[in-house]
Symmetry: C2
Subunit: 475 residues, 2 copies
């Protein structure tokens, strides 16, 4: 028995009545463009219709209609997600937020900005910087991802080690509930304990608890001085071992990134650039920022001394925009590079307590050998967040899928043993649904499901995401 009904011509007519005919897409080419995000092609699944509303009221009307008709709804930002969160796996309606893309208010007095979900992250960052303000969450896809997706997935990025992740900056939300009501949560208040923290419940709920229609982000002051340090190590072990000490002794570091030689070489090839010492096993990329030039240089010097003593080959200092951009371009494009250079890749997103980083790196090498799978390793090592990215090499799709599954299962077991978890910033989405019971207590899953069911009794909003039991479209 199907849980959901198909989208009938009558439903399409009603959708046109809500958002206007030109904002309802049904052609096969259009539907194909809304059937995948940045995960593997084999996960593609087409919607029956795509609608592009312009207001919360239109979205509320769509949700009420979808409830009446028992049609599933999948919200979508820029489609840059890495867990399949925006894929309409049960078909139905895709609501694309792309037309809701206005920066509504920059409020310098309260140091807040209010935006619609379809604003591109880098556009928002530039807009607030023009007012001397700073939104610090530096997601790799900043030039294309939408802030609404950042909030839905609670995106992390490179500067989390100092500035936290998306959720830390979200103070107000407007959203449409699964049953089609508009609600405003939080606001421009730094402290507020009036009722449950629904803002942070919705942040990271991957579009399963509501469709976000406005976001108020808190901002900070833009640091005046920024230095980036690229530090090659002959030994991966030595590089990783340094991270804990750095974290304990230096408070001002705004990024501690890690790239192994497989990752570096892929980025070099893809971007056609050369980084120094690319034959080294590991590179750390460390950012220092602050309001005073002298303090930033002093911190950089301490890092320099410490790492040279610990076996670094060299410490390259990037103190100008062009060199800094070159380093970060390499770091940000690793996933893209690996995708371009292989038929199949799987960008993973594990997290372990920071003290377990060396052990996790060791186990990853061991698992890579044991499974005969090449696994480039890079990530936000300062947060304990690594992106091991198995690549297919010469495998055909079937062999790849089988070998990958075996590797992931072993990797996630190791992650669990070390007190870690299966996703730090990409989300469970569709891709990791089946691994959730491996790491999460049954009681916790039941508590989450109880909320989902209480807010979305018909289960129509982004079905098949997060929850193992809802992984299918029929009951």
């Amino acid at each position: 028995m199907t849980r959901f009904n198909p989208v009938t011509p009558r439903v399409i007519e009603r959708l046109k009545g809500i958002v206007g005919e030109e904002h309802v897409l049904t052609s096969p080419e259009d539907l194909a463009r809304y059937g995948l995000d940045e995960i593997e092609e084999r996960y593609r699944s087409l919607p029956e219709v795509v609608v592009k509303p312009r207001s919360p009221e239109e979205i509320a009307a769509i949700m009420r209609l979808a409830n009446q008709e028992r049609v599933p709804v999948t919200p979508r930002g820029a489609g840059t997600g890495l867990s399949g969160g925006a894929i309409p796996i049960c078909g139905g309606i895709v609501i694309s937020l792309e037309r809701m893309n206005e920066i509504l208010e920059i409020d310098p007095d309260n140091m807040m900005v209010t935006v619609e979900p379809g604003v591109v992250l880098a556009d928002m960052m530039r807009a607030v910087e023009a007012h001397g303000l700073f939104y610090p969450v530096d997601v790799s896809t900043l030039e294309s991802c939408h802030v609404g997706g950042n909030v839905a997935e609670n995106a992390g990025g490179a500067r989390a080690v100092k500035y936290g992740i998306t959720g830390h900056w979200v103070y107000g939300l407007e959203m449409v509930t699964p049953t089609g009501e508009i609600v405003r949560l939080g606001g421009k208040r730094i402290k507020d304990v009036t009722g449950y923290n629904l803002v942070q419940l919705v942040v990271g709920s991957e579009g399963t608890l509501g469709i976000i229609t406005k976001i108020t982000f808190r901002l900070t002051v833009k640091p005046k001085y920024v230095l980036d340090l690229l530090i090659p190590f002959d030994s991966l072990k030595d590089a990783v071992a340094q991270v804990l000490g750095l974290l304990r002794e230096e408070q001002g570091l705004s990024a501690i990134e890690f790239m192994d030689s497989l990752s570096i070489r892929a980025a070099e090839k893809y971007l056609n650039l050369t980084l120094p010492y690319d034959d080294c096993e590991a590179h750390l990329l460390i950012q220092v920022d602050g309001m005073e030039e002298e303090g930033v240089w002093q911190a950089a010097e301490r890092v320099y001394k410490r790492l040279m003593e610990a076996g670094a080959k060299e410490v390259f200092v990037a103190d100008n925009r062009i060199t800094r951009e070159k380093l970060w371009r390499a770091r940000r494009n690793i996933a893209e590079a690996l995708k371009a250079l292989n038929s199949y890749v799987s960008v993973e997103d594990i997290v372990v307590p920071r003290s377990e980083i060396p052990e996790m790196a060791r186990r990853l090498r061991e698992l890579s050998r044991a499974h005969g799978l090449e696994v480039p390793l890079y990530g936000h090592i300062g947060d304990g967040n690594l992106h091991p990215t198995p690549v297919s090499g010469g495998r055909d799709e079937e062999t790849w899928a089988r070998d990958l599954a075996a590797f992931l299962s072993d990797m996630f077991k190791a992650v669990k043993e070390l007190g870690g978890n299966i996703t730090a910033e990409h989300g469970i989405g569709f891709k990791r649904v089946k691994y959730l019971p491996l790491v999460m207590d049954e009681v916790e899953i039941k508590l989450m499901e109880a909320i989902k069911k209480a807010w979305d009794p018909n289960g129509i909003l982004n079905p098949g995401k997060i929850f193992p039991a809802e992984g299918t479209c029929s009951s």
Copy 2:
């Protein structure tokens, strides 16, 4: 019809079987001690029995029993709350967490500490400082309050302007659900988006969603240099007006507190001490901290210059422990002082967007005059969080209750108009239940109620708190 059943002798016997006879209290004197927190006497309500479990397993057994018997349960920490959250307004069982008071683990590598809920906040702070670590949430009652209560209420305190509130430091929880299951949420992971953010849902849920049995707090590095500045102003308006500029220009300020002359004088009288310029209308108390002495002094100098130019009478610098402690003792004891000097007081806890602080201060003076009620004003002005504290003067209890209600209703309307809210760090508890619909959207209340009902189908855990509709013990 009563929703709940009375605690029968049979239930008491079963409770004794669970926690041991010596940990079940039923004498009138014992019950009286568990019938109130730090709000007004008129809110006192007695439990039928008090139990003191020692483990999550015991609490789980109590919750299962309470569900079978339909007996309400109210969890209790140190009873220092300011919203009646620990008052058993429907009678039933009080679960006191006082025996669960161990610091379980200090983990310097991950910069985390794991504790039981009955640990006194200051004890935890001192224990981690011995390892060079720092828990920065500086609640006024730090020498008596329990960390479990801090988490349940999402307590704020003086350093929130730089370091955030309790919730920002909670990374792991163990709790017993309302239906008596033990669950572990979060852990020692800096970033983790695996599933909904249940940790932050439980933080600040005022004991209505579960009973917290273990907490893992993230820690930071203790700042090496701290200065406190006391700055008297002749004009309250001038003092308040300075706060916004300071917030925008100085990132290192770890506290921006405010006290009006009524508050200062009460503290002086109560503590038998004298502060300079106590005839001034307003004082700011500003803390600067940092890792480098020079930077801290430079920031203090900038504050000094700015405020002297803006009409400060003087800037007193406290750079030693004794003087610093004197200033903070005065600030921390204002609420106690007002209570000691008046028959009745009501410590309020409003928050407005920071840009509205001057307007809110103006309106409070106006409302104070209009209602003929003396309203000492102090609080965490850097967060937009003020504690207007109406005092009874010569009023009898009945007149007081009536005049207070009229004042509060007007004050909360003003708060709402300015985009603020009714509680920033004390909680709704029982005291503010009736005002919730004044400031919160019906849809949001329904979303919160849906979660409460999904997790606690019999509504037995801390009934009558937060939700207007559950304000009674009978249906």
